[in-house]
Subunit: 422 residues, 2 copies
Amino acid sequence: MNRPDIRRLPKRSDPREAVMKLLDAVKSKKLLTEKVGLAEALGRTLARDATSNINIPAYDKTFIDGYAINPKDTVGASTSKPAVFKAVGKLFPADYPTNAEVASGEATYVACGAPIPKGAASTIKVEETRLNGNKIEIIREIKSGEGIIPLGDDVKQGALLLNRGQVLRPQDIGLLASIGMSEVEVFKKPKIAILSGGDELIKQCRKDPSKIANNYALVVGGLASELGATAVLNGIMPDALDQVQAKIGDALSDADIVVTIGGTSVGMKDFVPDAINQLGKPGVVVQGVSLRPGAVSGFGIVNGKPVVMLPGHIGSCIGGFYLFVAPLIRFYCGLDGDGLLPCLIAELVEEVDSGPQFRFLLLHLKRAEGKLLAEQVEGGSSALTTIVKSNGYSIIPPHTILVKGTNLDVHLFGKLELAQIT
Amino acid sequence: MNRPDIRRLPKRSDPREAVMKLLDAVKSKKLLTEKVGLAEALGRTLARDATSNINIPAYDKTFIDGYAINPKDTVGASTSKPAVFKAVGKLFPADYPTNAEVASGEATYVACGAPIPKGAASTIKVEETRLNGNKIEIIREIKSGEGIIPLGDDVKQGALLLNRGQVLRPQDIGLLASIGMSEVEVFKKPKIAILSGGDELIKQCRKDPSKIANNYALVVGGLASELGATAVLNGIMPDALDQVQAKIGDALSDADIVVTIGGTSVGMKDFVPDAINQLGKPGVVVQGVSLRPGAVSGFGIVNGKPVVMLPGHIGSCIGGFYLFVAPLIRFYCGLDGDGLLPCLIAELVEEVDSGPQFRFLLLHLKRAEGKLLAEQVEGGSSALTTIVKSNGYSIIPPHTILVKGTNLDVHLFGKLELAQIT
């Protein structure tokens, strides 16, 4: 029966197939890269393999503060029959390159990091030597190479240092600096524009302009930036089709990805899907997925750019975010696998039944008995406090019973969650 | 025997006692706080408990798109004997506050999030009703409260929302916004000044000013900022006591914590400890700890501010960093426990013998067989690639043998390490 008061969602899609469709729609896109200074590269993703065109160290140097000698001079040395050396000269790290030489029976003071003089092939710590008058005595045989960091010990010329796709950590950046790089090519951060639906938010903003009425946008934006995107809060879409369409159109002209919150269901003022359809082909691709919470999530494609529709209830919104937006960010950042979405293994403390749909299972993690435990977080999908109590999630297939003690892959909402797990 | 070419380190301290001394020296310091806008608060530490002075939601609202009714009108309703309603009016979220009322036998259309009209106590989804002419039919008994998010369901007035010391995640920030906050009081980030030792670095900088010669400072600075500090690279200390002293003195006037790299041992040009002693009382407190690598780490206190001395070999430098600098940052950030230093439990894949000193054990983590495995990373303490191959560490007491299969607490170097663990 055709009812004026009912609009029905299309048949709900399998969430795995829906994500595949989304990624298929963007996968031919060439990922953009940019060069950034090393100090700004923390957490960015390397866009090309990094290889070294130099050896590190570039020359043999001493690992210790001591004396550089020819180890042959110590053959047969012992406490009672020390090898005796004349101290000749001093070398410091800044003395490289040097023409200094030690002859047989000579020892040159070398400060940690100093180059090894010609004729020497070992160093021995000052405190391991004896001073006898103005002579240095060594009381054991010294092996060739002892006390020395040989040329190329850390990095060999031509070595692959870091792979494309590596998320740059402080030590990676230090390594790039050590081969003489001052900037590095990384994937551009995708720009995500976030739009919130609803006249009630506009009303709240008017009532108190200093407050943030669209706080869910703040949550979604924060989660997106933790995963490597640049999030832009593009304000509120009024409850009118033409204005929703204008807002989404504006956002699309500037951002790589547009995310809407609310207005995606079958309520009388849920204009987002219609607006997307009017903006360009193919328009809405998926509206509604078999995921609980998160069922009224979906996405459209307009001029090759994705518009992800997230539900207005915060629990459902987060479900849709991790289903659709997180993989998109990973793709645009040039990341494989989980990328910046940390995944931990935790032991489920109670039985969980997914029910007839895919389940977006909210989990609280805690450490106990030398293990990481995961407990289900109960709470309405409209309650932000439910998300605050959670650290991450698992998506469980329909009709699945996970028994107590199951080792579960738990995706943390973001890197900051680790600080909350005690 | 007094030898002009030997300076001896004091007896090496127990690293646990050394850290205790360091934290004791700063613990009376009042932690500074500052107010920041919510959008800038991600990852910052809350300086006071957050409680709510409002209920969320502030009124009963509908969870679904449907009809608001008096549930008493549905007593005895069934498919064959539906309860019949006259459709009266429409309510949307922006209609709050409303004087709308439904009488017995009336149903008001309510869009998801709309306030509940007086006289109604339940809502039912549109698609669960039947349309008969211009009447709405309901074919089952509806419980009171069905379809409604009651006042205070998410947050009750007076409830404690977040504790002081919470590291603010996107959802926490969203929650603070929802109680009307636009800014939040957080602990100030400690400012850490990093100084690198050595004329050889100055020489390198002169040779090619575009390159970063003191790349270890870049590593230490990156690790410090991942843990919540503001890191400032304060350049290079030349190999001369007065200049080392001047550089440290300048850094102390501006920063909360000064960290030096290199020049802490007993080499002829290791001036850092003497410089600290000349700058003020008590000067050097610990020089040398029983930790391998990291033995020539230490710290001084000058005018109540800590100066941490890190060794010049990168492996030792990182050992000293996590021993001394990480707990300092945690303290200044107002964090308890591990704070932003993520800790995971992993299974050791091989036997490890700590040896006669505390062992700063570098570990590479990987996921396999539904577990997190930890393997020791071998490599010289002067090789940055050793740190690049590692994800984190454990500090193992002396004379300890950890058997294969031991569940070990592994501290990640920082949050970004999680992206590397596959």
